[in-house]
Each structure stands twice: as structure tokens, then as C-alpha cells.
Assembly symmetry: C2
Homo-oligomer: 213 residues x 2
DNA sequence: CGTGCTATCTTGACAATGTCAAGATAAAAA
DNA sequence: TTTTTATCTTGACATTGTCAAGATAGCACG
């Protein structure tokens, strides 16, 4: 995924070439190394090897940088789920389970990035890139759930949407709880190995067996 | 709940009396009115009617103020779920459903506060008040799920913990998605009336009826 | 090849914020 | 009444986002 090696802060020419992408890469390094609070415009500029005011011409404001980072995050997120599903068996439920695991895995591997992507107020949702990337990820969710839902006997678009929302809420909620550290502080013993939780949804409670709810 | 009337910024005596509580109250007003990003030490001090450096003696740092606010938030959160359950029928599943609705309702009513309570890095988790308040809320979760789980035939502490985690993830995930605005941007039509979603978990998929999963 | 033009980058500045130090003030203690 | 302590204020400094003005390099055009 997003590699953690800092981009070389030296440059030969006065013009950078592709400072915008360099800033996004630097921002990803900061997110990985120091967390979301440490991601400032000046820090990203320094890692990219430019002056503190250079980013303005390429990302506008801090919100612009965060938006660009989040947009790329949604692209990587989408790709991560896609490859996980490709490596899974073709059964709709197995693919759904693989996607859920990838969802949580991505969040645990990139906590600050996921935090940013779902931070609500920090991003500029009028940005076309961000909207396109997130729309694609959201559509992917429905596409993953649909075959599994039909296999489960859910008929009608309303049922599928409802089930997709339930799956999304469960997986996203677990990912968010894991990231926030709530599971480490929760009721004693309520801490299964983190990347395996989606098995909770589709393991013991799989259709036809286990507890019905 | 946390009332939104600003505390009177005037005071007769030089000493404030209970500046710490006044700061927490002011912070809650700011959270409600302007969101988490607007909650600064200086803004809270101004709303409390004191100088910008006065909070240091009572909450230490910004992290101290956020921690105090979050601790009180967990207390209110706990109380909110408790009263909702008291007003519900005595059936374990009905109480669970009422608690889920209250969970999402609290989050939708206090988005910035919930965001802070589950923000992970911004709080000082060595603070005894915060730990006590959150522990009580987490224990409440298990206590709510246990009777419902036993009614569903879940036997053994392991099953109960697993089911509690599933319920928690679902409800928390939906609340977080709703707060972050993701549902407004999600797949078209996937937006049920917000405070009613927990009915998704316990409505169509209630034991003995609807889709089994 | 020379001359402007424009995008790009730098420097400098300002307001807001968290934090610290020093002093002023009030309440309590002696 | 005097001293001590807790509380609050004032002032300062570093950091950050943002803007304005100027410097620089790449490019079009003659």
C-alpha cells in the first residue's frame, strides 16, 4: 500500500515537477509515522523539500491537502478490497468475508488515514476527485453484498440495501472501535485477534447454523 | 442532556468558584454550536469569562479539558441509555433495541462529543475519571446484551462476549457512519431515517422471522 | 537568440492557538 | 493582623494556517 519511505527532500530544479503528488506522499508518511494530528501543511512541505507556503499553489489550503490524501486513500482502499476478493474463493459469502477482513485490515494498517477518510468535517466534499473515489468505494460495497444477499434469500432492492447497510455498519464499527482503542479498554476479554473479527459476523452466525438473530 | 445555554460569562468574585465545571460546560456548548475543531482552550476560557491562561490551573492542558469533557460525556451517555431502557418494555430484546436506538440517538444529538469520546489519541486514558466513566459504559453494554443473548440461546461467556461485540460494532458503526455523513453520500437510497436504524438489526432479522444470517 | 509571460517557489508577515513565567489578587491560615 | 496559598491575569514565545509581495525558472513568441 502507501509506502512509508520518505520522498527524497532534495531536488535539482527550481520547479518541483509534481509537487502535488509529492505533498500527498509526504502527507501519507506523516500519517503513518506520527498520526493525523501531526499532519500540517508546513510539515508536509518540509518533507517534500519546499518552503512552507509552496503547497498553497497545489492544494490550496490544509483542507485541500487532506482532501487529496483522503481521495487517494479511497482509491487504495478500493483496490485493497478488490485484490482481497480476487484472492478469495468464488463463493459470494467467502468473497464478502474476505472483503470484510480486508476492510478491517486496511483500517488497522492505516488508522490515521481511515480516521481522515471518515472524519466528516475536515474534507471538502465538493471536490470531484474525492467524490468519485468515495462513490466508487461505496458502490463496491453494494456490489459485494448483493450476491451474498441473494444467496441468503433476500429478495428485492430494499432488502439488499438494508443488508448492505447492516454489513457495512458492523464491519466499519468494528474497525473504528479497533482503531480508537476502545476494544483495548472494553469489557475484559472482549478482544479477539483484531483482523479476524469479521469472522464473527459470518462465522458462528452463518446461514443455517449457530445463533439466529 | 448537556444543555446548550451558554453559562453566564460574568462573575462577581475574583475567584470563580468552580471554574473546572464551568470550563467543561462551556466546552460542551462549543461542541454543540461549532464542532470539535472549534473547541480550543482560549474559546472555553472566554465562554467561562476568564482569561486565556486560567484553565491551566484546573484542567492542565487542552488534553486535560478534552478528557474532562469526554469523561462527563460517558456519564451522560450511560445515563441516556439507562433511561431509555427503563422506559422500554421489560423484554430483553426490547430493552436491547431501546438501548441501540438511544446509542444512535445520542450520537446524532451530540456528534462532536461522540467523536471526541472515541477519538483515541486526543484523550488522556490515564485519567481515573475518564477510565471509570468509560468502564461503566462498557460494562453497561455487556449487561444489556447478556439477557438478550441468553434468551437467544447463546450459552457460555464466550458467546455472550462475541455477541456483545457484534451488537456494539453494528450500532456504533451505524452511529459513526451517520455522524460522519457517509450515509448521505453512500449508495443512493441507503438512507433510512437515521434514529430508526437499530431496528434493522432487531427488526427484520428478529429471532424466528425474516432473513437468517 | 532575445524578450516578455506565466506558473512556480520563496520570503516575510499576521492572527490564532497552546503553553510557560511572572506578577497581581483574593481567600484562607496562622 | 500578617503570612501563606490558591487562583487569576498579563505578557511572552513557538507553532500553524494563510495572505501578499517578490524572486526564479520554464515557455511562448517575435
Amino acid at each position: 500500500m502507501s509506502k512509508s519511505v520518505p520522498p527524497k527532500p532534495t531536488r535539482r530544479t527550481y520547479h518541483h515537477g509534481d509537487l502535488r503528488q509529492a505533498l500527498v506522499a509526504a502527507a501519507n508518511c506523516i500519517l503513518k509515522d506520527e498520526g493525523l494530528d501531526a499532519l500540517t501543511l508546513r510539515a508536509a512541505a518540509q518533507r517534500a523539500g519546499v518552503s512552507h507556503a509552496a503547497p498553497a499553489h497545489h492544494v490550496g489550503s490544509l483542507q485541500g491537502l487532506l482532501t487529496a490524501v483522503a481521495a487517494q486513500g479511497f482509491v487504495h482502499f478500493h483496490a485493497s478490497l478488490e485484490t482481497a476478493m480476487d484472492a478469495a474463493p468464488t463463493s459470494p459469502l467467502e468473497r464478502l468475508r474476505a472483503a470484510g477482513r480486508a476492510y478491517v485490515g486496511f483500517a488497522v494498517d492505516n488508522p490515521a488515514l481511515i480516521q481522515l477518510m471518515f472524519s466528516g468535517s475536515r474534507l471538502d466534499w465538493s471536490d470531484p476527485d474525492l467524490c468519485a473515489a468515495s462513490d466508487r468505494a461505496y458502490r463496491q460495497l453494494t456490489d459485494i453484498v448483493r450476491p451474498a444477499a441473494e444467496r441468503l434469500g433476500a429478495s428485492g432492492e430494499e432488502d439488499i440495501r438494508e443488508l448492505a447497510l447492516m454489513v457495512w455498519s458492523s464491519v466499519h464499527g468494528y474497525a473504528h472501535l479497533a482503531i480508537s482503542g476502545a476494544l483495548d479498554r472494553g469489557p475484559a476479554g472482549a478482544r479477539p485477534p483484531i483482523p479476524d473479527l469479521p469472522g464473527l459476523l459470518f462465522g458462528r452466525w452463518k446461514p443455517g447454523g449457530g445463533v439466529r438473530i
